[in-house]
Symmetry: C2
Subunit: 481 residues, 2 copies
């Protein structure tokens, strides 16, 4: 259960909660002899990378590629032809760009389909309830579920209800937004919590601090042995309306119809392209990553095509600049992240033999690609000391800051097991306004911001991949995680 | 056509475009002898009205009533039982509050029903297109319309298309937002413009400067003798996606299904309650108003239950304070505003005999009830002079400002015919984010802001209704309008 819960917090696609550990002050660090001087010598190449990407021949190209990609393939739900077409396209493009070892690695993934769906308040007055079924939810019977409503604000409040009171009802959970981690568990846990008392279905308040009548989807998790009941997100506004009415004693009836289906698991692919190291090819690899799949709403531009493209183009532009580091920089576009990190988990399994040698550092961008503000580093004290020294190379660009923090959704498992990790920080204060909605589109992406992210990503990955030493790590083996 | 167009701009529920006429500077005005001194003597009663409503016993009550009303009746589409129930409730409540001459006056109104509806991009990839059918739109055949797409940004661009190119297509109009007046005509005119060339249906970009994947409904207007084709609003994001794809030459197919129906016209009611004048009862009436109906999305809290409640409670609180002015203050809650001012138009017809004597000034709040910033006055130069003098009584509250301007949707016809008019100005910069969407709910309303509006409304209406003279007017008769 703890492992599940940890995985869940990792899976909560993408807010990075900064946890202040000891801040690495490089003045207090004992760096290996000569390393400080070695790192300082990268300043000209870092400057050149920024110049080429931010104001030179590559300026605007990350955004342009992202635009063409999201316009061409639209949303990329796991199991859809659109996702697999997008993966094929990425492979072809990376080959055309001359990247090394371009290929895919298969993963067995969930295959959920939304189908047609709607919800309607039918008593005491008629009102459409805009909704999105939760990922992996079962559907209703063809005629839908027409049932009386119970509405609560919290699990604690729901504990006061007996099974007799809940039996056959549609339960509305309307928790106040206090952040994606703590509020997110309602999306994840509500269906089984309510089903244990015999509920017919669950509707949750969408996970967002701000709404214009917009529902937010996302995955749920059914507890084994508990009946699987349909679950959907409704708008903040409607959830609060239903909660107020219930508390006043108004009898309410909702008609919920969902054609959702969980089909047999299918095969998708993690997508890989490299800038191969001149000395180390398949050892001490520096991974830069984002996830290729999205929900079936909007076009998943922010979650997470943006992360894919800054990782992809960082490698492409380094290659085009003729910069080949000592170690390999491997771009990975994970599949089925939204289905609970299925692609990344499969990759971790497949690479668990010898991974201590295979990997050095994992980068991930999966919390928006708005205006960049810096990077979060995770890792042991020695790693932090080196990261802090590298960070000095970047601080002249914008006002980037670099801190220790917990990183990662797809790379979370590696990071928790002691691999050094790097995550993007950006001005994503409004990220959850759009997260998992029809509003996650190219309108959220800015060409200049993407350029700066790609440059920061490319420069940092390049320096790490080219250093004379690996970034130190304390890796717990895959089997004992 | 001009009249239709004028009516349309009036009908465009609610942005008030300030037109700077000559600003009335009361120092340059020749007020009737003694009037300046007379108006100044109202300062203590104005102070008392503000004190009671903003910080006294009525503080918070406008919002509380608005909350209970929108929670109880939900959205109030013309023709719905919910609207008529809400009207019955208002009548009962106003009688209970002791208002005078509480009654309704019937109006024959449109009866449109939305029914189930959806739109889906099916080629070249699959994507749901969140949408809202436009008011008064016909529906599709039961199986929907499955057709190829043409997308344009403007009517001018559409002129380049031949009937051969348009025949049987779904036409997407994606005009850039430049304001509700100029952009609004696409909602109104697009269906017939496209139908003239044989289009099967129309989808328009929602009328808003900002979107989180939110569609905005609103009424269309079919041109007589042109085939009536289904029309709906899609999100800004999807409209732009379709436009970009069309311009790139991508073949697109959309499947549109709308069960919308125009039923036989039905009867609704304008709702009236008064604070009867102690001297003039049914002459020189000061009307304060908002509209009772809404679209069938959200709960119409901002459009326009807010306008109803500040008008209603202004009268209620004056009555409760024992303030009875010389003339009658008549609260009117128009019906069927969203159907093209049908309730107000019927009222105008019914009162056209002798209306020059019956009415003095018309107030309307229908552009949001956010933080108030002042009032817009319309009327002839003499009226402006008096308004400017009255405005001095209010300027100590917040930082209210008072300007000449064009006012009104429901009261627009009277104002254009020369009756003095008063409209609320408020911090409604984001009004169109929510307008005609599922996001138009009580969350937009603030208790303290509503108190200040109700106070401003009550104090201004009271002074106007109690003055020794009528506000001057130059009225063009109803028949010659």
């Amino acid at each position: 259960m703890l492992r599940e819960r940890l995985a869940f917090f990792g899976a909560l696609c993408a807010i990075l909660v900064s946890i202040n550990l000891v801040t690495a002050d490089s003045n207090e660090c004992e760096l290996p002899p000569g390393l400080r001087e070695e790192i300082a010598q990268y300043q000209p190449v870092v400057d050149s990378i920024f110049q080429h990407i931010v104001s030179g021949e590559y300026a605007g190209k990350t955004w342009q590629s992202l635009l063409e990609f999201t316009d061409r393939f639209g949303p990329r739900l796991t199991g859809s032809k659109q996702l697999e077409d997008a993966i094929d396209f990425a492979v072809q493009e990376m080959i055309a760009e001359g990247l090394d070892n371009v290929h895919t690695e298969e993963a067995i993934v969930s295959h959920w389909q939304r189908g047609r769906e709607w919800a309607e308040l039918v008593e005491p007055f008629q009102k459409n309830l805009p909704m999105l079924g939760l990922g992996k939810s079962v559907g209703t019977a063809p005629e839908g579920i027409r049932a009386e409503v119970i509405a609560v604000e919290s699990f604690e409040e729901f504990e006061n209800f007996t099974a007799d009171q809940v039996e056959g009802k549609i339960v509305v959970f309307a928790p106040a937004w206090v952040g994606y981690g703590p509020t997110g568990r309602y999306r994840y846990d509500s269906p089984s919590v309510a089903a244990k008392k015999g509920a017919a279905a669950v509707l949750i308040r969408s996970m967002t601090p701000f709404s214009i009548g917009t529902p937010h989807t996302g995955t749920l998790s059914y507890v084994p042995e508990v009946p699987r009941i349909p679950a959907a997100a409704i708008t903040v506004e409607d959830a609060m309306l239903l909660l107020r009415k219930y508390r006043r004693g108004d009898k309410m009836v909702i008609h919920l119809k969902m054609d959702a289906m969980n089909l047999d698991p299918t095969i998708s692919r993690n997508t890989i392209g490299e800038l191969e190291g001149h000395t180390f090819k398949n050892t001490s690899v520096v991974v830069v990553s984002g996830h290729m799949d999205s929900w079936d709403v909007g076009t998943g531009a922010s979650d997470d095509a943006g992360g894919v493209f800054v990782s992809w183009k960082a490698v492409t532009f380094l290659k085009a600049m003729g910069l080949r580091p000592r170690r390999t920089i491997r771009a990975i576009y994970w599949t089925a992240e939204e289905q609970y990190l299925e692609g990344a988990s499969e990759y971790e399994r497949q690479h668990s033999d010898g991974e201590k040698d295979e990997f050095n550092v994992f980068f991930e961008s999966d919390s928006g690609t708005f205006e960049p503000t810096g990077l979060d580093f995770s890792g042991n004290n020695d790693a932090q000391c080196i990261f802090a020294e590298i960070a000095k190379l970047m601080t002249s660009y914008d006002e980037f800051t670099f801190t220790e923090g917990s990183v990662g959704s797809d790379i979370g498992n590696w990071v928790r097991r002691g691999f050094p990790g790097v995550s993007l920080r950006n001005k994503n204060e409004n990220y959850f306004w759009y997260h998992h909605t029809e509003g996650d589109t190219i309108e959220l992406e800015d060409p200049a911001a993407l350029d700066r992210i790609t440059a920061l990503w490319a420069a940092t990955a390049y320096v790490i991949a080219d250093l004379s030493i690996d970034i130190p790590k304390d890796v717990v083996s895959y089997d004992s995680k």
